[in-house]
């Protein structure tokens, strides 16, 4: 006759991969909205991206409203 028993697995520890992923999203999002002056698109477009400032223009109003230096 087999006995059944319960095992409780605690998930209270925060997984390391989740912390790294969330920290990466935090840093990337902060850079995109607060600091990019053409850097990200320069990977594809080269120097033109610094003149075009696609992301800067897209995030311009939020950048000001959230307190980041813009101009």
């Amino acid at each position: 006759m087999s006995k059944s028993r319960g095992i409780t697995i605690s998930k209270s520890e925060v997984p390391l991969y989740a912390i790294i992923l969330l920290a990466g999203i935090f840093a990337f999002g902060l850079f995109v909205v607060g600091y990019d002056q053409g850097h990200i698109f320069s990977i594809v477009l080269g120097e033109d991206a610094y003149a075009e400032q696609f992301i800067h223009e897209l995030t311009h109003d939020m950048r000001h409203a959230a307190g980041f230096p813009c101009h």
Partner: protein, 234 residues
């Protein structure tokens, strides 16, 4: 965490459209007048066509930017909430999240804002933008890590002495506040415009933190991601 942050960020963007946008339009209007006065641009129909086109792009972009920034701070908030949940006041997770949001809003937004307040367009020299960006981010990091350090210190203190950690944080930030360089740019825009913009900016960011806390707290309470799993073995 990502959903709550993104949703709250969208709410932030929409709030900005209502509260902050009139001040941005007024400030950019002053910039335009300066351009016409200096001869850098002409007050012509083609100017206004181009102007309206990119202003619509910026206003619409604010919603997406709100989502991205919201998800970014939502991630940071989520990490800290997961670690500190048991130390927060008993009760509904939304209540816990609101308490943490109040602490984070105060330490990584309000305190840095008092030193380096938000400015509308027309304020700010492009040549100093990198310096101002570094100063702003440094102040956020110092205040955030300072709060974390003094919180850890408070855990080692007896109940009555815990107040010392709050006094310590206040003293530490006062010293940092006095030592850090001020914003090098002169404010040339009307002060009523700048002050109105700052008040609305503060209010809109507060809306973000409250929204994020409520959404995350309600979702956490509903799905309990840290709930222990019970399995049967034979």
């Amino acid at each position: 965490m990502l959903f709550s942050g993104f949703s709250a960020g969208i709410i932030h963007g929409l709030t900005n459209l209502t509260l902050v946008e009139p001040y941005l339009d007024e400030a950019i209007g002053i910039e335009n007048q300066n351009l016409f006065a200096s001869g850098e641009a002409q007050d012509s129909p083609s100017f206004w066509v181009e102007y309206n086109s990119y202003r619509n792009w910026q206003k619409g972009g604010q919603i997406l930017a709100g989502g991205i920034l919201g998800m970014s701070f939502g991630s940071l908030f989520g990490i800290i909430f997961a670690f500190s949940r048991k130390a927060l006041p008993e009760g509904h997770d939304a209540k816990k999240a609101l308490v943490l949001a109040a602490i984070m809003w105060f330490t990584i937004f309000l305190i840095p804002f008092l030193k380096y307040p938000a400015n509308p367009p027309t304020v700010g020299d492009p040549d100093t933008v990198v310096l101002r960006g570094i100063l702003f981010l440094s102040f956020i990091a110092i205040s955030g890590f300072g709060a974390l350090g003094f919180y850890r210190l408070s855990k080692k203190l007896q109940k009555r002495k815990k107040i010392l950690s709050i006094i310590g944080y206040a003293a530490f930030m006062s010293i940092v506040f006095a030592l850090m360089p001020t914003n090098p740019d002169e404010i040339t825009a009307p002060i009523e415009l700048v002050n109105g913009f700052r008040v609305m900016s503060l209010a809109a960011v507060l809306v973000y933190w409250v929204s994020n806390a409520i959404i995350l707290g309600v979702l956490w309470q509903r799905f309990k991601p840290d709930k222990p799993i019970h399995t049967k073995t034979h």
